[in-house]
Symmetry: C2
Subunit: 388 residues, 2 copies
DNA sequence: TCCTTTATGAAGGTCTCCATAGATAGTCAC
DNA sequence: GTGACTATCTATGGAGACCTTCATAAAGGA
């Protein structure tokens, strides 16, 4: 919608961007004729633009496709290896760093195990170990990163500060941006982990292309994230999807009750839920009742969000989503009395990498935002630097 | 974000649009030098663009401002009288048609009284009477309208059909688009009335410029509308903000209890609420208790939306908002136990024209969307025609 | 080998924007 | 009233980017 305009060089810039975008979205090499059709430019102009972009290093020529009639056409591809972004999942039990290229393909990753008793300082050191491992595996340096997004539990406010954390006592207030900024000069974003998982599902997972969705993190600490109009939604202060804070939903206690009820048979907390879901799957009536009770509470908060937002899809993620075969039908039944139209509900398809992947997606989004709203001229590919 | 590019004529088009936008947003005449600064174009190019736009009728020259040094500069203004849009409030008790120019200034309006017993056919005829009155008052014809948006109670789905109406038994399924299309050739949109009221408040009222807000329609039929990222939010099927459908909120009965409780002293339903609020204002303890009970129920549904969306602002509209001095503090108190951060709450400032005004705003948005994403060339101002 | 098909490369023309310089029409000071 | 000052207006020339056209090149198939 933003009308820009400008002089001839600006026009050339727009046409270059439009060519780069066409090549990138095609995901396979394009001939000059195809590119001309997609950009709406004349063939001669496309030749000019492409020559320029190839010299600068944004695109590369690939061998012509054999077996066609007529003179073989030159083909070009977007050089998605021109830059890379980093997504980091700073979790309770692990730190996972994922490096992707500009096309979002995973190039390398690094993983370090931690636990809920790991102190802030050690956890932050684990971040560097995971990042370094990923950099080594990718054969890249810190200065090759074009953008970084780290996911953390807790509410992340507008300034990137972490507040309201349940699991880790010394985590609130941690300055992740400052920490990452010690060795990374590129733009850095911090984001809530559920939000990143939601974004990953919407880009690469079960919700690919869905515009409006509610992501339910079902696990020992339930949570929710929203994608609205295809974009991650932050609200005014970052505390969105927090409907579980209403006592009436019972979200703060429902997981504990599931794990400590008679159907859990006294298993350790980490295992109890899985055991209850397993028993319910096997036909244990007591376990089924416990799952139903859990689903009814989950449905209260979910219905509040669904009725508010009328999403197309609800994605079930988090630890309990591994038992979606049991939990999902129970949730659907529990939602029906509340909703006019129960939306589609699907279990997440991405595994435990989803938060780090979502981080990479968001970092890529920010790279795109800067690139496609560029004011200056198109130079060679290079890592953007933080303003501060 | 949409990269367009194209040939020289497209560049000229972009620069023309950018000039038109600058002139329109300035809301006062601009000299060529000022326009050159705002668009980033050279003076000479601005002369070209402006000459062309003036010939086509998009802008007009105004007398130079006196009293300045140097040769007096020519000044130009956007011709907001080049086109008009129509906003219609098809309400239970009235039909109100408002005509605004392209700057959103009200040019004329027409109003016809109806009531809850008016049949669909008569209500639709009342729509034409109100529209004709507005057209006559504006000195315009139906073909001068560039866009129409009508607001109706009930859920309005993607196709513009009205479903789920409480107040009017024969209203569901009414084909307002078809009805208006009989005499209006321009694009027609149907929208839920609360959504339009919310939009009006966000554009012209108490929520001017707020990006994320929840609009609460408090009245005998409570409802809600959402504005997210500065845009009206529809969700997947149009049924957003319907938390009141959850039994647990008590939204379906809370107004009735307020009106039929002892504090109402047996007044007629239409008057009872006003009486209760008045008594509460005067210090009547029983009435205050009734208002508090109402606010607690209202807060349940409101908290669900606020916790979900974390809006900057909640706007209180609808009939009961005339008693905001009593209701608003009670609502704020009732929200506090539920919310981490109680958002700002303000009563609506627009009067009973808000729905029709919101309709005009939305129609203008659609005109803008078409205009600024134009693929062809810029011709003279003319009413767009429906595709069908 | 020739023909068809498709892509390439160069030339000429058009459009838009920019920079520069001189002309113009006001205000301000005397 | 006259002259200085100032900001704008008008006209001209030049540069950049795009388009169209046409001759040329390279492959497969008859």
């Amino acid at each position: 919608m933003q009308v820009s305009g400008g002089d001839l060089q600006r026009l050339r810039q727009l046409n270059s961007l439009s060519s780069i975008r066409a090549l990138r979205e095609a995901r396979e090499p394009l001939t000059l004729t195809e590119l001309s059709a997609r950009t709406g430019l004349s063939r001669a102009s496309v030749v000019d633009v492409v020559t320029d972009l190839e010299q600068r290093g944004w695109i590369a020529e690939v061998p012509p496709a054999p077996g066609a009639m007529g003179r073989p056409a030159k083909r070009y591809r977007f050089r998605s290896d021109a830059g890379h972004v980093l997504g980091i999942d700073v979790g309770v039990h692990k730190v996972l760093a994922v490096i992707t290229d500009l096309a979002g393909r995973i190039v390398a990753s690094g993983r370090v195990a931690v636990d809920r008793h790991t102190a802030q300082r050690e956890r932050l050191e684990a971040v560097w170990r995971a990042v370094d491992a990923a950099l080594v595996a990718a054969g890249l340096g810190a200065s090759d990163m074009w953008g970084v997004t780290a996911g953390s539990t807790g509410v992340v406010n507008r300034e990137g500060l972490v507040t309201m954390v349940n699991d880790l006592p010394d985590w609130p207030g941690v300055d992740l941006v400052g920490h990452l900024g010690q060795r990374l000069a590129c733009p850095i974003t911090i984001e809530n982990d559920s939000k990143l998982a939601a974004l990953a599902e919407q880009r690469l997972g079960v919700a690919a292309g869905v515009q409006h969705l509610v992501y339910l993190h079902v696990g020992r600490r339930p949570g929710a994230a929203l994608i609205i109009d295809g974009r991650l939604y932050h609200g005014f202060s970052g505390a969105t999807g927090e409907v579980g804070l209403m006592e009436i939903t019972g979200w703060s206690t429902m997981a504990g009750r599931l794990e400590s009820g008679p159907a859990a048979k006294g298993a350790a907390p980490e295992e109890a839920a899985r055991q209850v879901f397993g028993a319910a799957r096997a036909g244990d009536l007591e376990a089924q009742a416990a799952v139903d009770a859990y689903a009814r509470h989950l449905a209260l908060g979910t219905a509040a969000m669904v009725l508010t937002l009328d999403p197309e899809l609800v994605v079930l993620g988090g630890g309990f989503s591994r038992s979606a075969d049991v939990l999902l039908p129970a949730l659907r039944r529990a939602l029906e009395p509340h909703c006019v139209r129960v939306p589609d509900i699907r279990p997440s398809t991405l595994g435990e990498e989803c938060v780090a992947l979502g981080g990479a997606c968001l970092a890529l989004d920010h790279v795109d935002d800067r690139f496609f709203s560029l004011e200056g001229s198109i130079s060679s590919p290079a890592a953007p630097q933080r303003a501060s």
